[in-house]
């Protein structure tokens, strides 16, 4: 993503002009736009025109519109972002208040106006515009008869293909059926790899369990071990030192590590690890938070107060010298964080009172 210009006054009101380059930028944009913001972008609209004689003709016209956002839609597979809203700036084709849906397009600039730019949003823009923070990884996770092909970018994990083939068990004597099924399975995986991966961009491919290599890109493949072929075992792979060394700068690897730390802490010293907003905010009150893990899905909340609540939590923790890690809910680790309420924290010192207070609440 490129930042073209930035006008934000001291009340944090203002607008940014951005140019998305690739699919991932759409995801960032999706996270930036919230209900009530104004968006100006070039778009295509079908316009009905009535001639002097009364016959009407319709034509498609490219025009620049400004809309007040009502809903946004993101398609993970195609990385498409559609923003629906009402027109707030009349031009000769479209009246005030008319509905329009803008399909944001890569490499075309758009302007986003916000009543209030919070620190979380601005940080996201900064991250999205930093080319050093980009890394692309493709992973093929396999077990006998089941394979997933995923693309992992810094903010997203996208499923590209799921391959499922029934492989008969080793039988007595004749195992041609088994061999045939295995060959078919590997062929399908190979075909999927060739179809979905662009070797000019991909930094490394992590392949688990077993594989067939593609000779010319051999150096880009890493073979690692996972206990099963399901998508969540991707986490296991990202924890693997051989892989994380190659991907030291990817967000996915960092997130996985942070979540792992939280889980270990919860196991070893449960008074230093809490999850759920109530517990975490109590920990924050005593300035105990060392690392805050928070899922980006919370900042997409439609409820403004809800969003503010989490933004102030993040800002608070930062002010107190804590580390804040914003997880992408499209990654496996973020997905899991989302499942456990989306917010978790590792504390500097044990605060057993948090849980006790909760108990008193329970008994009421």
């Amino acid at each position: 993503m490129k930042l073209v210009s930035k006008y934000i006054d001291k009340e944090n009101q203002g607008h940014l002009v951005l140019v998305p380059d690739e699919g991932e930028d759409m995801w960032h944009t999706y996270n930036l736009i919230s209900e009530g913001d104004r968006l100006r972008a070039s778009t295509i609209r079908k316009v009905q025109q009535e001639s002097a004689t009364g016959s009407s003709s319709s034509s498609r016209i490219r025009t620049t519109l400004t809309i007040q956002v009502e809903t946004t839609d993101f398609d993970i597979g195609g990385c498409l972002l559609r923003v629906k809203g009402r027109n707030v700036q009349e031009n000769k084709y479209i009246k005030m208040g008319a509905y329009h849906t803008i399909d944001l397009e890569p490499n075309r600039k758009f302007t986003l106006f916000k009543e209030e730019w919070d620190s979380v949003s601005l940080e996201r823009v900064e991250n999205a515009c930093d080319p050093a923070k980009h890394a692309d990884l493709a992973a093929v996770i396999m077990q006998e008869g089941l394979a997933f092909l995923c693309l992992i970018t810094s903010a997203m994990t996208v499923d590209r293909a799921k391959i499922e083939v029934n492989i008969p068990k080793k039988g007595k004597g004749d195992d041609t059926q088994r061999k045939k099924a295995s060959a078919k399975f590997f062929d399908m995986v190979l075909a999927a790899i060739l179809r979905h991966l662009n070797f000019d961009i991909i930094k490394a491919t992590a392949i688990q369990t077993d594989n067939r290599t593609l000779i010319e890109n051999k150096s880009k493949f890493v073979l690692c071990h996972s206990s099963s072929g399901f998508k969540h075992s991707l986490r296991e792979v990202l924890e693997n030192p051989a892989v994380s060394a190659k991907l030291s700068d990817t967000k996915a690897a960092g997130e996985t590590k942070a979540l792992q730390q939280f889980m270990t802490m919860l196991g070893n010293d449960p008074d230093r690890a809490f999850y759920g907003y109530n517990h975490v905010s109590k920990a924050n009150e005593s300035q105990a938070i060392e690392t805050l893990l928070v899922s980006d899905s919370l900042f997409r909340s439609k409820d403004l107060n809800e969003r503010k609540k989490y933004v102030s939590l993040v800002e608070n923790v930062k002010d107190n010298g804590g580390d804040v890690k914003i997880f992408s809910c499209l990654h496996v680790s973020g997905e899991q964080l989302d499942q456990m309420t989306g917010v978790a924290s590792i504390l500097r010192f044990p605060v057993p009172e948090i849980e006790e207070e909760d108990h008193e609440l329970d008994s009421d």
Partner: protein, 465 residues
């Protein structure tokens, strides 16, 4: 009426996703399992009364404890494996440069053979020991009634399997959690320590202590010294004086023969869990698996769950059994027709069309958490192992934590479940699975949760939501 049925069966096949058609099948076309009622008990008496009862036995233990060698030798001594095959293996091993012809490599999947003892027909399942293949070991153990735990008695061998990271412990815990209450422990490779009685005693003492903590009663466990390589004390009583001097107990075969056969639920509705699918001759499909409950004969109409299709049984085969019939507890291969091969999966169930197995994406279960480092919290994801099913499950809710022995609620809505605790939780699956509640079907209510190659918890289904 008959024509309509075929028509609807055709529809059902075409529109198997549509619930409306299910309803039509349920209410207007009570498709029957078989047209003529039969007396299963009488049939059982007639077909199985005079023959030896069948016992499903699984062999478990640490990798390289010698499970496959031990069982291979046992089968060889029983004359199941022919001299010619042995010779072939010998040649192959020589080619691979293995020092002994028995070292053939790592077992990766469950092997299945049948042999007979004096009072029983034993259906033997040889499970892999390597930690990467524990999922296969679980499917193997889920199909068995009793287990043999093979331990390596050689110097350092027993310790390697028994200390942390060894599979002896994990396998023992798994077999117990899967409901196999009787265990025979084969203390293998005792020839390598010159049949030392001290070594045998040492191993028995540490195992006894451990197995008690897992939940095995002393009276349910038998210990047999033996050697898979030399064949000592497998079928014939020991000939080596070093062993004969202090051991007068049963041979491995006798110990197997003494294991009790559990009660078979032949009168319950049919539940057949598919563990293997392959093409048969012609257009029919073959499905392998274990009939958990009920009775199947040729011509029966079974419902495939969770798809809801109807299949007709064309043939039933099993080693050492009369073809055409199958009772609960048998391992059989069914030849079925009338079903699209693409809808058959490992882990699906065949059942009585009038009493199909429930399918769900959400269950409540009672679990026992093992020795884990990362606690279980809301949202944790696990590999879910149930019969031959290997799926993904997510913890939706931690309902309550229970006292480990009394089962009383210690805490409602716990924040996390740490190691060695017991709890009631809610699980959610990615796609619908067929499950039974433990209290209705003891054979089918148990499952395992694993993560990162470690078994995290064992559980019983208490409620299907």
């Amino acid at each position: 009426m008959f024509v309509i049925r075929i028509l609807f069966a055709g529809y059902a096949r075409e529109w198997r996703c549509s619930h409306i058609v299910f309803k039509i099948q349920d209410h207007y076309l009570p498709l029957r399992l078989r047209d003529k009622e039969i007396d299963i008990n009488k049939k059982y008496e007639e077909l199985r009364g005079s023959v030896k009862s069948i016992l499903n036995l699984v062999v478990v233990g640490h990798v390289d404890a010698g499970k496959s060698t031990l069982m291979g030798h046992l089968l060889y001594l029983k004359g199941i494996v022919a001299q010619r095959t042995m010779h072939k293996y010998e040649q192959e091993s020589k080619k691979l440069g293995k020092q002994s012809f028995m070292s053939r490599g790592v077992t990766v999947d469950v092997a299945h053979r049948t042999f007979e003892t004096s009072s029983k027909t034993i259906s033997l399942l040889d499970a892999p020991g390597h930690r990467d293949f524990i999922p296969s070991m679980i499917t193997g153990a889920a199909r068995a009634d009793v287990a043999i735990l093979v331990v390596d008695a050689s110097t350092g061998g027993f310790e390697a399997g028994f200390e942390t990271g060894g599979q002896t412990r994990e396998h023992a815990i798994l077999t117990r959690s899967l409901g196999l209450s009787e265990l025979a422990v084969a203390v293998n490779k005792l020839d390598s320590v010159d049949w030392s009685q001290e070594r045998f005693k040492e191993i028995v003492t540490s195992l006894k202590h451990f197995l008690k903590t897992v939940g095995y009663r002393d009276s349910d466990v038998t210990y047999i010294p033996c050697s898979g390589l030399t064949g000592e004390n497998l079928v014939e009583p020991p000939r080596d004086t070093a062993l004969k001097n202090w051991y007068s107990g049963p041979t491995l075969l006798e110990a197997i023969d003494n294991l009790p056969v559990p009660e078979r639920a032949i009168n319950r509705p049919i539940r057949f869990c598919i563990s293997d699918v392959y093409k048969g001759q012609g257009s029919s499909m073959c499905v392998g698996g274990r009939l958990e409950t009920g009775y199947i004969q040729n011509g029966d109409r079974l419902m495939l769950m969770p798809q809801g299709d109807i299949a007709t049984v064309k043939g039933i085969q099993a080693e050492n059994l009369e073809p055409g019939y199958s009772f609960a507890g048998d391992h059989v291969t069914l030849n079925i027709s009338g079903i699209d091969p693409t809808v058959l999966h490992v882990g699906d169930f065949l059942c009585d069309p009038q009493e199909p197995i429930p399918q769900t994406t959400r269950i409540q279960a009672r679990i026992v958490v093992f020795n884990i480092t990362v606690p279980i919290i809301k949202g944790s994801q696990f590999d879910f192992h149930y019969q031959s099913v290997n799926g993904m499950a997510r913890v939706k809710k931690l309902v309550s934590q229970l006292h480990k022995s009394t089962g009383q609620i210690i805490k409602n809505r716990p924040r996390a479940l740490v190691k060695n605790s017991s709890a009631v939780i809610e699980l959610e699956f990615e796609r619908p699975l067929c499950l039974e509640v433990y209290k209705n079907y003891k054979e089918l209510g148990r499952f395992m949760l694993r993560n990162n190659g470690v078994t995290v918890a064992a559980g019983m289904v208490t409620q299907i939501n």
